[in-house]
Symmetry: C2
Subunit: 415 residues, 2 copies
């Protein structure tokens, strides 16, 4: 193909960015690929809406079949959002021999195995760099790492909204609600922020990274997920005293044929690279047996960075770089909750009789050091695995909303 | 080619690592490429030396021509070190249609343009990921970025030895000499550390990154270079008071048809990502007009991480991923010293009459704030470009070894 035809589903923020890059960087892209890449059709909800992009109206359509049934289109680029419809469009496109580039983590996370199989059967590419960590080329990096390395650990700050909130709480002493308001004001949070603050967005992303890293499909439901809503201003004060910084981190680890994946607020040393990742930036750390640790950092969202990832995928399709990767699902590897994660824990309980609670904590056999007691009890626990900690917490039967606990990712804790 | 034959020049630290990966990861590499990759000959200085690697003695040779003249060898891997001989071997290999993978920054930095031309003419690949920042896939990342982006800035902690020394000085209050001794003890410093501590090693690396990023050959001599030997224990104390951390940073920036490249100790905010890069780790930051800032972090040296980069290059040759990149030297772009760099400066002068020196500083018109005066004068200057600062320093005619000045990479300085 000397001319590559792209069908674009969606002309929202990311779609507009893709359109602009393919328009404004035409010469540079031609130099990189030797081909002309042209958007030949764009699916929009309302053809009459003026988007200020100067798009030729004749390439706009409100009927997806105009794109799916157009055999002259080589690559489908899906930046719609949603799950059912995009899933259906992607399936149809792969079946009809179209390459697919998508930014849609909600489709890739659950259907990764099925979609890769379908792409392989039809000899087409399926790329989704923009589905994880925006502009950061972590999926491509990870695919290179696993050619040589056994990957043991993946960790990332994968959600800009929660990182913005936690950064503002830490750096500017805002309460959770104040920081969330600010995130709304700056456009970093959705009207309904649940998906972000409860960790679901990050869970889809770590599920994709874990699947690729371990060569086994780790689904959304395999990710143990806790959000950041329980972190209070008094916790932040305690964290500072302990030289620790809270971050919502997606983690995945493997031991033999068991793997664990989670999204939860963790505490990192204030001098650790993760602690320096502020506001809406993302970072991903990958550990392999040969290369050791690599980290990738950049903008985890936003129009241009995300569109950059989509266009990089388009170029990799055009350059036929998609052919070397094939996902094979090793079904011997079983996700097993969060039990492979282990560490000291920070735990705070409010509105309690500390002496009574400490007796209960001693009764259940959770070794600890008391940081502060009285009206509010704060302890650091011994090293304990995540599942055991959950069961300890359950045994204590604490009133909902009265407590907060975070695993500490540091070797500097002494209890 | 179903069987890919590799000729390996050098079986030192990195060479042994490459040998072990190709031996121990055979199945994984076959899965990634569909080919068997075999080292068919290895150049060593002494065939009789036992390296404990179990290498078949029949593939060892002390005569490089056994490899260069062997037309069955597809890929030459050069991990010898040195300049003249490796350069000659690489030239011969490219001319005879062998792909070349090298870890040799001392060859790539000055001859990048010439070698790429020769590789293109002979339709072979020339890859050198391991020449910059060890295991970090920054060259591959950069090549992807420039397909879409205009790169405006590249910055990196590119030398593990100096980063180790500065980390120890900062974190453990060691003097420069004590930290250098420790670097020697841990094998992080060469017997003659000049190349590292004077910044020459990092200068070769930033010259390579700048060349690729800007599409113009920036040579070693185009990089303005200052090492870390002038940083004293009293400077470190002052940096801490200012919440700044010293790092030896290679920088490159471009404006229109002018570019600047330098290696010099800079001061960064103690909460900045670069400040958290400790000991022998490296980091590289790249800014593009679309993707914004990306950072790549990992081990900048060491047997396995560096060998990982070499083998990744071998795989990219085997997978024919080398074909998409061609270096074109835009000779309109001119390196112009360090004048594009601008910032506030920290400056310390020892054993002076502060009042007298402050008069001189006022006389030459360098606006500043006095941090401490007396026996030792410490000031922060106004924002000034690097070349003007150099000429200010020259005008003050300070005794050699009595002073230290570092540009501050922070927006938080007020004078």
């Amino acid at each position: 193909m000397v001319m590559v035809k792209v069908g674009l589903l969606g002309l929202g923020t990311v779609g507009s960015g893709v359109y602009e890059i393919l328009r404004d960087k035409k010469e540079s892209l031609k130099k990189a690929t030797g081909k002309n890449i042209e958007i030949s059709k764009i699916l929009v909800r309302d053809k009459s809406k003026d988007r200020g992009l100067g798009v030729d109206p004749s390439i706009l359509t409100e009927n997806v079949d105009d794109i799916l049934n157009d055999s002259s289109i080589d690559i489908l680029v899906e930046v719609l959002g949603g799950i059912e419809l995009p899933y259906e469009y992607i399936i149809k496109s792969l079946r009809s021999g179209k390459h697919v580039v998508t930014a849609n983590k909600a489709v890739i996370s659950p259907y990764l195995d099925e979609l890769h199989k379908l792409a392989d059967e039809n000899n087409v590419g399926l790329l989704y760099e923009a589905s994880v960590a925006g502009g950061i080329p972590v999926i491509k990096g990870l695919k290179d790492i696993i050619k040589i390395n056994s990957v043991s650990n993946i960790k990332g700050i994968l959600n800009g909204t929660t990182n913005f909130i936690l950064s503002k709480m830490y750096d500017e002493d805002l309460s959770f609600d104040e920081a969330l308001s600010l995130a709304h004001k700056y456009g970093y949070a959705e009207a309904d922020p649940t998906d972000d603050i409860e960790g679901f967005d990050a869970a889809r992303k770590i599920s994709i990274l874990a699947s690729l890293g371990f060569g086994a499909h780790v689904g959304f439901d395999d990710v143990v997920c806790r959000g950041i809503t329980s972190v209070s201003a008094s916790d932040i004060k305690n964290f500072k005293d302990l030289s620790l910084v809270p971050k919502l981190i997606g983690s995945a680890t493997i031991a033999g044929n068991e793997c664990s994946a989670s999204v939860e607020p963790l505490l990192v040393d204030d001098s650790a690279p993760f602690a320096s990742v502020k506001d809406a930036f993302n970072i991903v750390s990958i550990e392999g047996d040969i290369v050791d640790e690599l980290q990738f950092y950049g903008r985890g969202a936003g129009k241009n960075p995300t569109a950059n990832a989509v266009v990089t995928d388009i170029l990799d399709i055009v350059l036929e770089n998609y052919k070397e990767y094939s996902f094979t699902n090793n079904t011997d590897i079983k996700p097993s909750g969060s039990k492979l994660f282990k560490g000291n824990y920070y735990m705070r309980v409010s509105n309690v009789n500390s002496d009574k609670l400490l007796n209960s904590i001693n009764d259940i056999g959770l070794n600890h050091k008391v940081i502060s007691s009285g009206h509010e009890l704060v302890i650091l626990t011994e090293k304990i695995d995540s599942e055991s900690m959950e069961s300890m917490i359950a045994k204590l039967n604490l009133p909902k909303g009265s407590f907060c606990y975070l695993r500490i990712e540091s070797e500097n804790v002494n209890i």
